[in-house]
Each structure stands twice: as C-alpha cells, then as structure tokens.
C-alpha cells in the first residue's frame, strides 16, 4: 500500500525562528529522510517553495485562467498530485491544464525548493 504524507505548517512562524533553529529542523528532516530510505519506505519527497510562489490554474470554456497565490477555498479537497519536470512556469501551467480536475476544480502549481541530495 502506498501513502502520501502531506506536510502542513505555519510558514510565517517557521520564518520567524532563529536561523540556527531552522538549521536544526532542516537537519532533522535530512535524518528522517535517511532513516526511511534505509527502512525501504521512502519513494519520494520534496520541500516546496513558500505559498507566495504558487499559481492556481483553472480551465473554463477552454480558456486557461491563472491566479496568483495558493488554492484557498474549502469546497474542494486534495485529490492527488503529479510531480513534473518543466523548463519554466509556463510549461508547468500548460501541463496543469491537461489534468482533468482543472475543469471543475483547480490545480495549484508550486515550485519545488532545491535541496542537497540525501543518501
């Protein structure tokens, strides 16, 4: 069985803690990744850039509508995800417009934060 573990946290409060403390938490993430890799549980995982970099994509009557910012309504629920490689945001948006849910729901496009590899 596969599971998706979604990480929710308060961006602003994370940003407000001292840099050394942030570094310690970052190290904890690295340890965690290493541990579950060793156990054979790890399939994939990424850190996301802050919500300020998000773009929400919808398609209405065949027209692509983009809005700045994250998905903010509660009528729809998270139903899945794709992790894709794209050369820039335009390509990522164009990939998002092909996902069926873009017509009735929406797709939030978030850049992945570059992080050093963990072995």
């Amino acid at each position: 069985m596969k599971y998706l573990l979604l990480i929710y946290e308060n961006e602003a409060s994370f940003a407000s803690i001292p840099e050394a403390e942030q570094g310690r938490i970052f190290g904890e993430y690295m340890d965690y990744t290493r541990r579950i890799k060793k156990n054979g549980n790890y399939i994939g995982g990424e850190a996301l850039e802050p919500v300020a970099t998000a773009t929400t994509v919808r398609v209405k009557d065949g027209k692509t509508l983009t809005t700045d910012g994250p998905f903010a309504e509660t009528r729809e629920q998270l139903g899945g995800f794709y992790l894709v490689e794209a050369k820039d945001l335009d390509e990522a948006i164009s990939l998002a417009t092909g996902i069926p849910a873009v017509r009735n729901g929406c797709i939030e496009v978030r850049p992945i934060m570059p992080t050093p590899p963990v072995d």
Partner: protein, 409 residues
Amino acid sequence: MDLDSVYREQRPRALATLIRILRDFDLAEDALQEAFAAALQQWPAEGTPRNPCAWLVSAARHKAIDRIRRERSFAARRHLVAWQAESVLPADEADEPFPDDMLRLIFTCCHPALALEAQVALTLKTLCGLSVEEIARAFVVAPATMAQRLVRAKAKIRTARIPYEVPGGDRLADRLEGVLRVVYLVFNEGYAATSGDALVRRDLAQEAIRLGRLLRALLPASGEVGGLLALMVLHDSRRTARVDAQGELVTLDEQDRSRWDQAQIAEGLALAEESVRRSRAGFYALQAAIAAVHGQAATAADTDWRQIAGLYALLLRAHPSPVIALNHAAAVAMCGALEQGLALIQRIEETGALSQYHLLPAARADLLRRLGRTHEAACAYERALGLVTQEPERRYLERRLREMRDAER
C-alpha cells in the same frame, strides 16, 4: 540633452537587455544604477557615447560581475551560476540592446501568474521608470506596501521561474490581451481620477499612452494594439474639456468641443480606422471606432448614434458583458428609441448583474428624465446616489436629482 533625460529614455531598453543577460530584476536594476553613476563621471569629460544604451548595458554587466565576485552569500553564488550559463554568448552580441528584450520585459511584467496589481506596479517601475513612491502615491497605498508588492512579484518571477520570453504562437493573442489590460488599467487610473493626487494621475495616462506607442512600434501588425492606442489617444483628446474650472465633471454631451485636442483626434481617427480593418471584432478596435465617431461630431447633436449603436451591437456580440450591454442600451436610446433603450436596461437589471454599479440606475434615470417621467427619474437618481463613490459623479447626480425635484413641484 542633459544626462538625466538620456538616462530616462535609455533606461527601460537597457534594463530589458540586462534582465535577459543577468536573469535577475534586482541585480539588473542595481547594476544599471551604478552604471549610470559611472556615466555621470565619464560622459561630461569624454563625451556621450554614440550608442548610450549599449554603453550602459556593457558597464552595468561589468558592475554586476564585480558585485557577484564581491558577494559570497548563497544567493549570490546562485546568480553566478546563472551568469556563467549565459556568458558563453559573445559579450558584444549579448550587450547589444535588442527590440525583443522590451517585449520580453513587457510580457514578463504582465505575466498572468502575478496578481494584477503586481503586474501594474512592475510595469510602471521597470518599463516607465516610476519610483516606488510615485507608484504608491498614484494608487493611494503606503510606499512600504508598494515596495513589498514589488519585492514579492520579483521573488515569484525568480523562484517560480516565470520565463523571460515573448510567448509563442497560439499563446501570444491570449497573453497580449493581459498586457493590453494592464496598459488600459494604468490609463483609466490616470484618466478617471477616482481618488488621489490628480497631477500624478494625469502622468499615469501619459505613461499608458507611451506604453501603447511602444507596443505599437514592437507589434505593428496587431489591430488590438493599434485599437487600444487609438482609444487612449481619443479619450485623452477630451481631457481638458471633461472637467470644468470648478473641478466638476462635464459629460460628453455638455463638453465644450472647441477644447478637444484636434491633433490627437486626427491621430486617433487614423489609428482607429486601421485597427478596425485589421481586427473587425477586436475589443479595443471597436471601442476605438466608437470613440472615433464621437470625435468626429462637431456638436453633441451631430453625433451619429445609429453608427454608435451598431458598433456597440458588434462589440456586445463579440465580447458580451453587462457594461457593454448598458452602453448599447444607452446608444439605442440616443437614436431616439427611448422606450427600447429602457427595455434593454430593464433586461440587464433582471439578470442581477451590475446591481452595485451606480451607472445602471443613472442611465435609467437619464432616460426617464428625457421621457418626462420625473418622479420615476428622481427615484432612479436616488438609487444611483446610494451607489456612487466618485465625488464629481456624485455632484452630477445630485444636480439632476434637484432638477427632478424642482420639476415635480
């Protein structure tokens, strides 16, 4: 020409090319500022270079490299990576300002993944060279808020990797629509003067027209670009006539047409004609054609309302919206069909659209007034007054309401 005006003129083009080379708005802006400081030292002694823009780009590029070498932060090293990737280009070719860079900059500033107000702010900052304080004053927000908006927009361009390019093929028309919306919004902020510093706002209208001219030079075949420029120039030709000495708004039919700028009208007419030829169902081309019909009428009574109603019908079919439907209804009424116009307004009211828009009851009130249905007109003016936010329009509606009350007595 003094150096400041040379800089003001060259800055957007130099910046557009530098952003392409350096891949970073902030780095490009800072480096260009340093290059200009160097120009202030060198040019008076050695003479202004033949190609000041290329000189500025070249100097700024070297300043940027110096800065990257000086700084040793993680972020600076990231710049360096981007720079090294780019530096394989022969330097002189990379420094040559390239008309496409201006288009790249326009399309990036007006990217739909940025909030509309961020698009506007970024456009005014980078393409028009307005300061953060000037933009903040024009939009009546605190300078710190405006600065934050710009920082956030630039961070999103960098982090989410919004491409620095002119969208290709089938995406161009769609994206151009977004660019034109930003330019027209800037114009309307300047022209409609809803609030804030009137002088700064007039500058906004001029900046929008300048952007329109730039777009037209870059995309001469687009009917919509020509249409928007025509529309702005034709509106601007009436600028001095639409407000009286007391600052009161003067409606089109009451304006002193001798104060209209005939040179602007001539330019607008030629542009509007060409634009409608190129783009028959174009949103801006059709609106320009309507403004052109007004511009050709020597007096309000001479207005060819039949042609205007026809143009609004075309516009409504191609770009249906309640505001256009309202304008169409008003034009039909002006052809003498007051009852028919009233029925069209009724239909808009029944859809529930524009229920917060003061011009809907105001238009109804004007028709009822002209039909001599004084009491109903007074009620409609009252409703419009309950919704209006702009001071000159409020005073206009109050004057009409007083007239209706006097007539009722």
